[in-house]
Each structure stands twice: as C-alpha cells, then as structure tokens.
C-alpha cells in the first residue's frame, strides 16, 4: 500500500507514483516539489502559485485537501528532516530575528507548525 517511485516532472507540471500496482499521474499547476509525509502516508505537492500552496493526496491519488502559505510567507521548497517533512516559508519580515522559517507539515491534519529558522 506504499507509495513507490515518486517522480516530479517540472516541465509538464506532472506528479506521478506507483501505488498498489497502479501508476498514478496527476497534473499540478506550478508544481515545484513533492514528497511523501511519512506519518500520514500522504503525498505533499508544493505548487508555487501565488505565495505557494501544499496540495495533499492520498496514496491512491485522491485529493486530500490543501494547506495555504502562512500569512506573510511565500513557500519555497520542501525539506525532509529527522522531525518530519517541512516546508521553508520565506517571510516579508523577520520573526524572532529570522526572515525565513521551517514549517513542519502535518498532512493528516492539513496544518503547518512553525519549527525553526531556515537559512
């Protein structure tokens, strides 16, 4: 039931993976990056439309919601880490002295939590 061979085709704005013996392919406008969020098993796709948005998909390809960029931030790229999958938000103004921050992704709850500064 796992996600295999996740591939991002930037030129075609297509996201594909294999699941349960099937090839799944989706078109995502302004697709920048994608990764599997381990805790939920969902696929997180970063679209750079506007300030950026995370689109969530179940392993079978069903849409599972989306997460908007936090107010005052533009989403840049995904960062896999020991604490889980995160996205870098680049800020309009510093918070606690740092303009850019990691936001941890909870794909199950479709939420972001500020995690730590991003350089």
């Amino acid at each position: 039931m796992s996600v295999e061979r996740l591939e991002v085709d930037h030129a075609a704005a297509r996201l594909g993976w294999r699941h349960d013996g099937r090839q799944i392919s989706l078109r995502v406008a302004d697709l920048a990056d994608a990764a599997v969020e381990a805790a939920s098993g969902r696929i997180v796709a970063l679209s750079r439309s506007g300030a950026g948005r995370l689109l969530l998909f179940d392993a079978d390809g069903a849409a599972a919601g989306s997460i908007e960029a936090p107010a005052g931030y533009a989403l840049s790229h995904l960062v896999p880490g020991e604490q889980g999958l995160a996205v870098v938000g680049q800020g309009d103004a510093p918070h606690d002295g740092w303009p850019d921050w990691h936001f941890r992704i909870d794909a199950g709850a479709a939420s972001l939590t500020r995690a730590g500064p991003a350089y």
Partner: protein, 196 residues
C-alpha cells in the same frame, strides 16, 4: 632572540618543576580565563576557548553560552553586532548556499561576500546549523541589479547542540531587509555551481 629563548627555557623549567597538586591548589581570580574540562562537551570547550575572554566572570560566560546553545533561534549576529543598514549598490556580487530543491529564484535572506568553497565552509564560517539547512548542494553567485537594503556585518558564532559542534562563524554576512517576494527583483543570477 637569545634573550627570548633563555626566558622561554626558564619559564618551561619553572612550570615543569611545579608539583601538579600545588599548581591546582592556586585560586583562580574571577577575571582569569580557565580551561574547560574536555568532559564538558567539545562544543562548549571550543566556544569557551574562543569567547571566555569576552566576559568578566565564568558565570557571565556560562550565561552567554547557555543563551546561545539553549535556544532554537539565536541571533545570526555576534553579541556585539550593531545594525549597519546600508543600500548595497547595483553591480555588487555575493554568494549564497542553496539546498536541494531550493530554486535559485528563491534565495534565502542571507548572503556573503566571501567565496563559499565547501559545505564545511557553510557550516563553520557561515555558522549554519544542520537544522537551519539540513542539506546543501549548490552555491549561487548573485549580482545586485537595484540597490538592496541590508544589514551588513559578520556571522555570529553558533552552537549546533544535537551535533555537539561549535560553529565559529566570522565570515562576512548581510541580511536582506526587503520582503521575500521582492528579493529577486534586486538580483540576477551570475553563476551556479555544486559544492560538497
């Protein structure tokens, strides 16, 4: 020269003649830098060697160390940094380390006027903790195309606590003071190259 050699020899003989217990028995004035035992942690010992002298007492130095090591978002500047806000002129070039997946048209907020030759330079001289940029694969040279408001100085020291690593910093650094969405409107990409 001969006088200096004689003086050094005399000093060495005097130190060698001291019984170890007697040497340890001497009280240490509060304003004297003392070595930190190795078991205190390599990051702390290395920070102590570089920065203990800045503080009047061990207690003040320890407080400064803890303030740096115990927070997730310490200042990117040295403790003594005072804001030096300038408009960086068009034509000025700088470098920035990027992460895998980070588009070059989404630069971070910090650049350096030093040449970034390795990931180790980023970790040590730019004092970038693993948590702040877990992976680094490229360096981009940017050129400023329109005056860019920035705070300019040098990189402050950091403690990468999970790695028990002292990151001395010391390279040049500036922090862009424009909203993230406007950064690239002040820049153009000159060159991009991989680093390890």
């Amino acid at each position: 020269m001969a006088l200096l050699q004689e003086w050094l020899l005399a000093l060495l003989l005097a130190v060698a003649a001291l019984p170890a217990g007697e040497a340890r028995a001497q009280p240490v004035p509060a304003n004297v830098v003392v070595a930190v035992p190795a078991e205190a942690g390599s990051a702390r010992a290395a920070w102590w060697a570089d920065h203990r002298w800045r503080y009047a007492t061990d207690q003040q130095a320890e407080a400064a160390y803890q303030a740096l090591a115990a927070t997730d978002s310490p200042s990117p500047w040295p403790e003594w940094h005072e804001s030096n806000i300038v408009a960086l002129p068009a034509g000025l070039r700088f470098q920035m380390a990027l992460a895998p997946g980070q588009p070059r048209d989404r630069p971070g907020a910090f650049g350096t006027f030093d040449r970034i030759d390795s990931v180790e330079f980023v970790r040590l001289s730019l004092a970038v903790k693993k948590a702040w940029k877990p992976e680094i694969d490229r360096v981009v040279t940017y050129e400023i195309t329109a005056p860019l408001l920035a705070d300019v100085g040098v990189v402050g020291p950091q403690i990468d606590a999970p790695a028990d690593r002292y990151l001395p910093g010391g390279a040049s650094q500036f922090q862009m003071l424009v909203p993230a969405a406007e950064r690239m409107s002040h820049l153009r990409v000159v060159e991009e190259r991989p680093i390890r």
